[in-house]
Symmetry: C2
Subunit: 364 residues, 2 copies
DNA sequence: GCACTATTTGATAGCGCTACCTTTGCTTTG
DNA sequence: CAAAGCAAAGGTAGCGCTATCAAATAGTGC
């Protein structure tokens, strides 16, 4: 009946001007259903047909209408992104990644604050009751065992973003914290440092332990000893970084480099050093971890480890959505543990120790 | 295959279990159409009927299905949130507010990076071509006249979030920058300071001028003079804050308080002060503006002005969506300029001018 | 070749809602 | 009292997509 590009017949209420699935079908000379199949990656479409459809999609610059899709498909997967500590930069990157993927895979994303240990349970219960089936948990929530158990008990699915260590029951997207710390340590050693201080992160987050191990093994691998006085506990906060830095720099044989388990503490180290008129990086190299905003705000900017948080978020959402979709059709799926590559961001806070540097060309 | 426990007649594909508009209509003994009218606040419904419907809605705890709504209504308002400088904390707050409101008012939100001055035009053109009708512009994009003109020219609508100054053609949601700076100045004076330094923000952002005026007028209102040596240009960056702080503190009669036009620069002031062994706030009070993450990360935490960014974002999106909706039905609407209240966040970086040590200790 | 599964494709019928038009039930008037 | 006017309610037909099932086509073994 409806022939073609006569855009409106009587009763036509179309307005968006966007091409529809039928437009594509017409161009590709097949039925809308087939186009739908191609879009949804079903594999019962012959290669030649699929290609024709793909070409038509490309040509029309078609993109499916979300509203129609979720109406018809009754799919509407709903996922909550829980957060506690609004470490803003982390959160916003996370958000960007999630948003992007959510709109791509047609997931309804709900962002909800979930105060650590407090009303946690209530929040989760409410969300599940309101139809949320999946949870995206960034640190430190992803390290909280009771929360994970609660979600599982209530029939929700969870995926962990950036946990220090993978859990057997939940999927996770993470970087190799241990390896990253190891690499950073090796990098510092490569600069010529031998006496290197380390500030441990919050002991309740599993990542802290991984980073510490990475550091220790990195030192061991270079046959460097780590006296007890060169390792100090911190809490991931700037304050704790100040205390730890003071302790480390008070040692009679002070370190020529300090590797802090996150950027906030590293920034604190820089501040303490400068108060003591130690030039960073000339007198003291400082390295952080995470590449949060503060790392590139302060001066000198921090050499640190960057996690591709946005990418991780995207993957996490994708995996979770996929698992939920297959769960709906009865299939159960095993937890996936995806490791993503990190980057060592070389900036201005590190260099060869002391005089050695001025003897060497100062080109970096 | 097992024929499932189909609780419905064949063809019934409902799954959500949520009540639909027809359920409400049945209960209220009227047609779905009437219910729709009530939901949409049309006024051609008799009071008695409307009440019956309202009761039914309440009873069933009905809420309309967004997907169906936007499919049928062909509404689907699409708004892009453009950003340049990923000042993460600002962005994430902005995002949270937008997300929340977007899902409430059924707006499709697209978040897009728009490099300052660079491919700006291309980004905007593409977005408009892809059906985006509205733009949410946070600083510094909201101060860029060419961008505003481009959007208007292409038929898009824009709303400015936190511009220094309202534009006659665009709606805006903002705080009173001038008044906030004035208040902060008055606050500092109230602490007992007389010699107060000021660091100006990036001269290309209109907010900078507003803040400066607020400061100057605040000083004038207290009959305090502002020697030229007490005001220094900055660029909103930490680096520029360091330079400005050094300049101000190098003056023979150095200030007892410094008010920086944003938190990054204020943090830099603290750092410089500490390097010179000036205690903050005992020897020098420091105040910032914006309440970004760094303000509460460093030690001492900064006293600063907090904008309720989330709330502003919510309002902005709401206003823009409303304008777009009415624009579609032919009505045109005047730009709205909404002023939101800010808060002076009192923290640890300010206090009465210290009497104790006036001389600079220069030991280690 | 023919019956008999696989594999692909197509037709149909909605998903829950609203635009648009028609009908109903009153008032207004001449 | 009929013609007309108007407000309130209902009916119909999709919005763009997918679930479901039926049809067509291709692939198999005897």
């Amino acid at each position: 009946m409806n022939k073609d590009k006569s855009p409106r017949k009587k009763g036509g209420r179309r307005q968006s001007g966007q091409p529809t699935i039928s437009d594509v079908a017409n161009l590709a000379q097949c039925s809308p259903m087939t186009v739908s199949r191609v879009i949804n990656g079903e594999d019962s479409v012959r290669k030649s047909t699929r290609d024709k459809v793909l070409v038509a999609i490309e040509q029309l610059n078609y993109s499916p209408n979300r509203a129609a899709r979720s109406l018809a498909g009754a799919s509407q997967i709903r996922i909550a992104l829980l957060y506690t500590n609004p470490s803003a930069s982390y959160l916003s990157e996370l958000l960007m990644g999630c948003l992007d993927e959510a709109s791509k895979s047609d997931v309804h994303l709900v962002v909800e604050r979930c105060a650590f240990g407090e009303d946690e349970e209530k929040v989760v219960r409410n969300l599940i009751k309101s139809g949320i089936g999946g949870f995206l948990l960034p640190p430190p929530l992803c390290d909280e065992q009771p929360l994970l158990e609660l979600i599982e008990e209530l029939g929700g699915k969870a995926i962990l973003v950036g946990p220090g260590k993978a859990q057997p029951h939940q999927s996770a997207v993470m970087i190799d914290e241990y390896q990253a710390a190891f690499d950073m340590t090796t990098h510092i050693i490569g600069l010529g440092h031998k006496r290197i201080g380390f500030i441990i992160g919050n002991p309740y987050q599993t990542a802290s332990g991984q980073r510490l191990s990475g550091f220790l093994d990195g030192m061991a691998a270079a046959n460097l000893s780590v006296p007890e006085s060169m390792v100090r506990q911190g809490l991931f906060t700037y304050r704790s970084g100040i205390d730890a830095a003071m302790y480390l720099l008070d040692q009679t044989d002070r370190p020529t480099a300090i590797f802090a388990s996150n950027d906030d503490m590293a920034a604190a180290v820089v501040s303490v050093a400068q108060r003591r008129h130690l030039d960073v990086p000339l007198d003291l190299s400082v390295c952080g971890f995470d590449d949060t905003t503060i790392a590139s705000t302060i001066w000198p900017e921090l050499t640190t480890i960057r996690q591709p948080i946005q990418e991780m978020a995207r993957h996490a959402l994708e995996i979770l959505a996929e698992q939920m979709r297959s769960a709906r059709t009865g299939k159960s799926s095993k937890p996936v543990h995806l490791k993503i590559d990190y980057t060592l961001m070389r900036r201005q806070s590190d260099g060869a120790p002391g005089l050695a540097r001025s003897a060497i060309r100062k080109d970096n």
